[in-house]
């Protein structure tokens, strides 16, 4: 036979459990805006019934319920998808924004670009060759040469600054990766210590950290029975059950890899991959500008040095090029000091006659010549090839970013649909648990009255 107090006991448990459910709904409502929070749900289970013989029959009497677990609602599959999508999205958006910066430096199409400067430079030779006695044409030529040198050099310098900036960003990404790994390791340990206990909120925090990490670099994870997670970033172990390991700090932008001295592994995703693409493109375009400047120096100077002006001066270079210190590339691409000093050192012919424009016209014809140093292309074609390729690459990354943004939003929507807090749901739950609580209290009250009646009967 059940104890007379059994019912009261049972109902007091029910009250406590409904309170726990109310508390959980409150926790959900309180975290409606918390990033990475997964809503939690209380699961109730029926207590083992009390079985006894009554009048020769075996009968079970219900013993109420208990809270079996408070679980977080989470779809692990979506989490993995979201991590991959984050990696891709950040790679594409970082690359697109970075390469757009290079495009801005080029300033094409229009009058402010290098293409236009090259065109005007050769136009000026044509103008001067056709009218060698025109001092205006001579000034215009020197000016066009100066503008060309300034633009090539200026673009190179801007790209060099960007390259240093990107290197700084890569270093700070390395630091961020290590910081996040340390954070994940700390949460791993806390989750392990709380094993069997309610570690929902710690797991949410770890998932948020993992999500952040996946936006920096491509990440793989492995979860163990004790609740800890091992994290592999770009193929390198950064967190395992023992603790953290530093992410390699040596990178090669051209191949898009990081290396710890023993192993070299490609970075396939995340902001880091985008930064490596940016860095490698910057180096590529800087070397293209170097090529352009060197070819201008060699080709224009070779012809220009055969010229003679009316004062009998010969062997004058047009673009600066001295052996010591060696002038190579775009970094110090400029006019020769002799040209800057006196515009009569701009050669138009080989005879020294003031009306001889033959040399200037041959220099104007250099415009269409292909050069081996430019991959058998002319100056303009070589330049526009670089800009066009860059533009297509940016367009590709831009489209990839748009697509991946849509995918990412879709996954986030799904994640939110599964794990997000809906206030209306919680309100409905609150009402439900409130009513349940009221009913349990009422039941307790009835049981109390029954007991009171019994005690009152005994008093009589």
């Amino acid at each position: 036979m059940a104890s007379p107090f059994g019912g009261i006991n049972m109902m007091s448990y029910a009250l406590r459990n409904f309170q726990a459910a109310l508390q959980t709904s409150g926790h959900n409502v309180a975290n409606v805006n918390t990033q990475g929070y997964s809503r939690q749900r209380v699961s109730f289970s029926v207590n083992e019934p009390l079985t006894m013989f009554t009048q020769g029959n075996l009968t079970s009497i219900g013993q109420g319920m208990h809270v079996s677990q408070i679980s977080r609602i989470r779809d692990v599959f979506l989490d993995r998808n979201l991590a991959t999508s984050n990696s891709n999205l950040n790679k594409f958006s970082t690359a697109a924004a970075g390469l757009h910066g290079i495009e801005e430096i080029y300033g094409e199409p229009g009058d402010l670009g290098i293409t236009s400067a090259i065109g005007k430079f050769f136009d000026a030779w044509s103008g001067l060759g056709s009218n060698p006695s025109d001092q205006g044409a001579r000034l215009q030529l020197r000016n066009a040469g100066q503008v060309l040198a300034d633009r090539v050099r200026g673009a190179w310098q801007n790209m060099d600054r960007s390259l240093q900036d990107v290197d700084g960003q890569i270093q700070s990404t390395f630091t961020q990766i290590d910081d996040l790994a340390a954070n994940i390791d700390r949460l791993n340990k806390a989750i392990r210590a709380a094993s069997g206990q309610n570690a929902n909120d710690l797991m949410d925090q770890r998932d948020t950290a993992l999500r952040e990490l996946s936006s920096l670099v491509n990440v793989n994870t492995e979860t163990f029975a004790d609740g800890t997670t091992a994290v592999y970033a770009a193929g390198f172990t950064v967190v395992d059950s023992a603790g953290t390991m530093p992410f390699p700090k040596t990178y090669d932008a051209a191949t898009g890899t990081v290396s710890n001295g023993l192993v070299t592994s490609p970075v396939r995703g995340g902001k880091l991959a985008g930064l490596l693409i940016h860095s490698s493109e910057l180096s590529n375009h800087m070397s293209r500008l170097d090529n352009l400047a060197d070819t201008f120096r060699t080709q224009i100077n070779t012809i220009h040095m055969t010229g003679q002006n009316s004062a009998g001066t010969t062997n004058v270079k047009f673009f600066n090029d001295v052996a010591v210190p060696p002038q190579t590339g775009a970094i110090d691409f400029d006019l020769d000091p002799q040209i800057v000093a006196d515009i009569d050192n701009v050669m138009t012919g080989v005879s020294g006659n003031p009306g001889d424009g033959g040399l200037a016209l041959s220099l104007a014809a250099v415009r269409d010549n292909p050069f081996a140093s430019l991959g058998n292309k002319s100056f303009t074609t070589y330049l526009s090839e670089g800009v066009d390729t860059l533009a297509s690459t940016i367009a590709y990354y831009g489209q990839a970013e748009d697509t991946e943004t849509a995918v990412n939003q879709q996954i986030q929507n799904q994640v939110q649909a599964v794990s997000g807090v809906a206030i209306d749901d919680e309100m409905a739950d609150l009402v439900k648990y409130q009513r349940s609580y009221q009913a349990a209290a009422r039941t307790l009250n009835v049981m109390d009255q029954v007991l009171q009646d019994l005690i009152g009967m005994l008093n009589r």
Binding site: S116, D123, P132, S384, Q412, A417, A422
Partner: protein
């Protein structure tokens, strides 16, 4: 489908941002008048614009070169037009001078006239172009090409060409070939005529001298024809260039410029969409079960 608050909020924000981005893109098109600003927005179009702009700049330079050519040829033409008048007058003088009805005093006057014409010819041979260059000096364009040291005319220039790039990588000679020989020859023809007039050598004046003058006249006409033809070519090329420049400008505009009325319409519809997104957000956020609970 279950809809959480964060999801709803994210959705509203995404839609508002997308609508705003489209609105701003449409505004930018209207304000700049350009379909794209950077090559990556239209790689193919940008390539077209860039090469068309380069070609246009080159054609404009050729057009300027042609102006230089016109300067040379025009000045030469003017000089030879006047030369033609002068030598025609010499021709008349030679015809009259051979006539025995004129006395020696009249022939002396004629000789004086020829001498004045010689001076005038030297002046024309030293014609200066708009940059101060001597048109008939060859490449020695800053040296006065002809100096008169009676009875001779000395040529100080050379016979090298002044070439002008009139078509891509194609040049045209714009100064007169053999100017030195021509002017010194003309001068000496006149010198002989003058001396024969002064010495009263009527048979020479009427025969050899007259023939020489007429031969010079034919040469002058041939040269005038040649200069005229080249001027016509230059003018035709200038017209061609102008058409080319217009065509290229049209191409650039076709690829790069927006149709303004279309862009404004697009901007207005983007604005409507943006306003709608804002309103929907305001409405959607106001609904809650809490309003119906006591």
């Amino acid at each position: 489908m279950r809809v959480s608050n964060q999801q709803q909020y994210d959705f509203f924000v995404q839609q508002m941002q997308a609508a705003q981005a489209r609105y701003i893109a449409a505004q930018r098109e209207v304000m700049t008048g350009k379909k794209f600003e950077y090559p990556s927005e239209d790689p193919a179009g940008s390539h077209t614009v860039n090469s068309a702009m380069a070609l246009r700049a080159r054609t404009e330079q050729l057009d300027r070169n042609l102006r230089g050519a016109k300067d040379y040829l025009g000045n030469s033409q003017n000089a030879f037009d006047e030369l033609n008048d002068l030598v025609n007058k010499v021709n008349q003088i030679a015809v009259s001078g051979a006539n025995s009805t004129y006395d020696q005093a009249a022939r002396d006057a004629m000789a004086h006239q020829v001498s004045e014409i010689q001076d005038r010819i030297v002046y024309l041979a030293n014609t200066v172009g708009s940059n101060g260059q001597y048109v008939f000096a060859g490449q020695m364009s800053s040296t006065k090409p002809f100096t008169s040291t009676p009875p001779n005319l000395t040529f100080n220039g050379d016979d090298n060409p002044i070439n002008v790039e009139v078509r891509p990588n194609e040049t045209m000679r714009v100064n007169l070939a053999g100017a030195g020989t021509f002017f010194t020859g003309l001068h000496s023809t006149l010198e002989t005529l003058k001396n024969d007039l002064l010495s009263g050598n009527l048979s020479n004046v009427g025969d050899v001298d007259l023939k020489a003058v007429q031969s010079q006249l034919r040469d002058i006409n041939a040269i005038r024809g040649d200069i005229g033809t080249r001027l016509q070519t230059v003018n035709a090329l200038a017209d061609q260039n102008q058409r080319r420049i217009d065509d290229l400008s049209l191409t650039i505009s076709d690829v790069q410029d927006v149709d303004l009325s279309e862009a404004v319409t697009r901007m207005q519809s983007a604005q409507t969409a943006y306003t709608a997104a804002l309103q929907v957000t305001a409405l959607g956020q106001s609904l809650s079960l809490m309003d119906y609970m006591k």
